[in-house]
């Protein structure tokens, strides 16, 4: 049994919009294991971003628990949350959100800077991370000299900087063309495969979502459906022919008898 990284228990979030009460999340239960690549899909207003904000300690739930690495973040005071965000969570945004006046390396160094890592170490790690996202040689470029796809890769490197327990990606491909979309999804999938990074990704795009391991459908603040994505094939958890569950050790699919 894999280690549980994230566990949501009866999570609800209500807020008032003018005079209207909005139930953004109602009774969400979810468990994410270490090394999983999960996508959350759903129509606009279904609560995807609220869920991600609550997971990322940017927002507090009205009810329920968020257990991140066995720590209930909902119990922590506002003042302590930055430590969780700093060390356990890496954010990737739809609009990249790089600081325009810092170059790629400095942007990646930023999360390490605020937890007081020495300069030399910071710079070394930033370069390694940029290499990991295939941006070697572009370390000193400012965001405006990078393409959208490259900017998102810098943002991914930044999210990985403090070696977080989980990466939260809010529509990371939403502002990209199809070619870059493909590359970013591949990059995330690759990181998940090679680095065993746990990733939760919100997306509109079912094609993008299909590259993940688990696809969750969020509707009116509830998880209504869950299915396996193509990423499970790569991980050896799903038969590419009949899409039934297999074990990584299987040579022949137990369901359809096709050779794997």
């Amino acid at each position: 049994m894999s280690e549980v990284v994230l566990k949501l228990e009866n999570l609800s979030r209500k807020y008032t919009l003018g005079k209207r009460n909005v139930q953004a999340l109602s009774n969400v239960n979810l468990q994410v294991n270490k090394g999983e690549f999960v996508s959350i899909m759903g129509p606009s207003g279904s609560g995807k971003t609220t869920l991600l904000n609550v997971l990322g300690c940017l927002d507090k739930p009205t009810e329920g628990k968020v257990l991140l690495d066995n720590v209930d973040t909902t119990k922590l005071p506002e003042k302590e949350l930055y430590k969780i965000r700093r060390s356990k969570i890496g954010f990737v945004f739809q609009t990249f959100n790089l600081l325009p006046y810092l170059n790629a390396r400095e942007n990646v160094e930023l999360p390490m800077e605020c937890c007081g890592k020495p300069k030399g170490e910071r710079s070394k790690r930033a370069k390694e991370l940029l290499q990991l996202v295939n941006l070697s040689g572009r370390e000193e470029h400012r965001p405006h000299r990078l393409s959208a796809g490259e900017q998102q890769r810098v943002a991914i490197a930044r999210a990985l900087a403090n070696d977080p327990a989980i990466i939260l990606a809010d529509e990371p491909t939403g502002n990209l063309d199809s070619k870059n979309k493909q590359e970013i999804v591949k990059l995330l999938a690759n990181l998940n495969l090679t680095q065993a990074t746990t990733i939760i990704m919100v997306t509109h795009d079912s094609h993008v979502a299909s590259h993940t391991e688990r696809m969750l459908l969020l509707c009116d603040g509830k998880i209504t459906r869950e299915k396996q994505g193509l990423h499970s094939i790569k991980k050896g958890q799903m038969c590419p022919h009949c899409h039934n569950t297999i074990q990584p050790s299987d040579v022949v699919c137990p369901s359809c008898q096709e050779k794997l």
Partner: protein, 454 residues
């Protein structure tokens, strides 16, 4: 913001120049008093100055009294003086106390020596050297000599030099002229600057070389451009051998001054005879007017100070408000960035110090720019915003129109290092003050809401 900071700098500098003006006035008053004291037994005799002597090319213009020209332009161009200024128009008419400007034959006046109670007659020669300039006044054209310096020849005999106060007393470097000297000269500080020489140097005066033995610091209006040499040197230098421009008569005691003066007048009715009593009255009137000018300068100084104080207050308030609004705008503009920073792990303290630092650096930069601007523009700015030297009424004391080139005192604005430090310190302080609230607001931003903000 930069200009805001430069205003107090300019104001303070202008204040300093006002202060130096009133100090100058104080000196002038002290000097006048000294003159009063040393003239008690003195009678000055000279021919009334003629226009030829002054270089006017229209000798037929007879309707000007000598006093109007002889005494400087106190009533020549009233517009140049402040309200309180009215210098008596006939302060001796020349550089040396009682000195005339019209040459007179020495031998004609030897009989003055034999008048009862006359202790000594000191002949003096005073010649102005300068350049001619044509001016238009009263609808007519005059050629006026703008004097560069005034030569005063004093008989350097021990009986004169040792007994009578005919040479300047305030020697600032070198030494005074001594009895029986020749070929030497005592310059004023103004002269040393004009000739570009110092004590021990040789100076060429009207084509002849003299050795500079000393410099006198007399700052009185008449003495500023006056150089002293022996009478015989002065006479041969200016082709005036046998001629003098004034006779300074010293009586045995102050009681006989009036009698002696009357006797001189009856012997030589063409002479203008001035007793110490008359001069005393004039000098006292002058002193009073100087004192009035000083009082008005002091009043203006106080006013300038309060204006400067108000300006500094307004500038401080305006600067911190500008920083406040600028930083509030910045924080609003960068809400999303703040959200990002918080999402990737910046604490409230991190965000706050970030924005504080930014505000302080911004206003420090503005301070530097402000100082640069005030260094360049403060003279103009303060001239526009504050009372100037001529408005103070004090400048008129030193500006004699005709000798203006050498004696005018102008107010100048100086940016001192202390002023620069104060301005920079103020910039940092105001920057910190103004960005305190915006930085706090930035640190309080809720990341979830900030992320929605575009």
């Amino acid at each position: 913001m930069a200009i805001m900071i430069s205003i107090p700098a300019g104001a303070t500098a202008n204040q300093a120049s006002t202060l130096s003006l009133s100090e100058n006035l104080g000196d002038t008053i002290a000097e006048t008093e000294a003159t009063i004291n040393r003239t008690l037994t003195q009678i000055d005799c000279s021919l009334a100055p003629s226009f030829e002597g002054f270089g006017f090319n229209r000798p037929d213009v007879g309707n000007f009294t000598p006093g109007q020209f002889g005494g400087g332009n106190g009533n020549f161009n009233p517009g140049q003086f402040g309200g309180g200024m009215n210098i008596p128009g006939q302060f001796g008419g020349g550089a040396f106390a009682g000195g005339g400007t019209t040459p007179m034959n020495e031998t004609l006046y030897e009989d003055i020596n034999s008048i009862e109670n006359v202790a000594s007659v000191v002949p003096m020669l005073q010649v102005s050297e300068g350049t001619n300039q044509t001016i238009e006044r009263f609808g007519r054209s005059f050629t006026v000599m703008i004097p560069d310096y005034v030569i005063v020849g004093v008989p350097l005999t021990s009986s004169v030099v040792d007994s009578y106060p005919v040479l300047p007393v305030n020697i600032t470097s070198g030494r005074n002229l001594q009895a029986d000297e020749s070929g030497v000269v005592l310059l004023s500080e103004n002269n040393t600057a004009f000739f570009g020489v110092k004590v021990g140097d040789t100076v060429n005066i009207v084509g002849q070389d003299f050795i500079v033995v000393g410099v006198h610091g007399s700052s009185g209006v008449e003495d500023r451009t006056t150089l002293y040499m022996s009478l015989s040197d002065a006479q041969s230098l200016t082709n005036n051998t046998g001629y003098v421009t004034s006779l300074v008569v010293f009586t045995e005691d102050s009681a006989s001054v009036t009698d002696v003066a009357n006797a001189i007048s009856s012997l030589h009715p063409e002479l203008s005879v001035e007793t110490s009593q008359q001069r005393l009255t004039q000098l006292q009137a002058m002193q009073t007017s100087y004192e009035t000018a000083l009082a008005s300068a002091e009043a203006t100084l106080a006013q300038t100070q309060s204006v400067a104080f108000e300006e500094v207050g307004v500038a401080v308030a305006a600067t911190s408000l500008i920083v406040l609004f600028l930083m509030l705008y910045t924080v609003r503009e960068r809400t999303k960035e703040i959200g990002t920073l918080k999402a990737i792990g910046f604490s409230n303290g991190n965000v706050m110090s970030q924005f504080m630092l930014e505000g302080v650096l911004l206003s420090l930069l503005a301070g530097v720019v402000g100082i640069a601007i005030s260094a360049i523009a403060a003279p103009t700015l303060s001239g526009l915003l504050l009372p100037t030297a001529s408005q103070l009424g004090a400048a008129g004391t030193f500006t004699r129109g005709i000798t203006a080139t050498n004696t005018a005192t102008t107010a100048s604005v100086v940016l001192t290092p202390e002023l620069v430090l104060i301005a920079l310190g103020a910039a940092v302080l105001l920057g910190a003050l103004g960005s305190l609230y915006p930085a706090w607001r930035a640190s309080r931003t809720r990341p979830a809401e900030a992320m929605k903000y575009e």
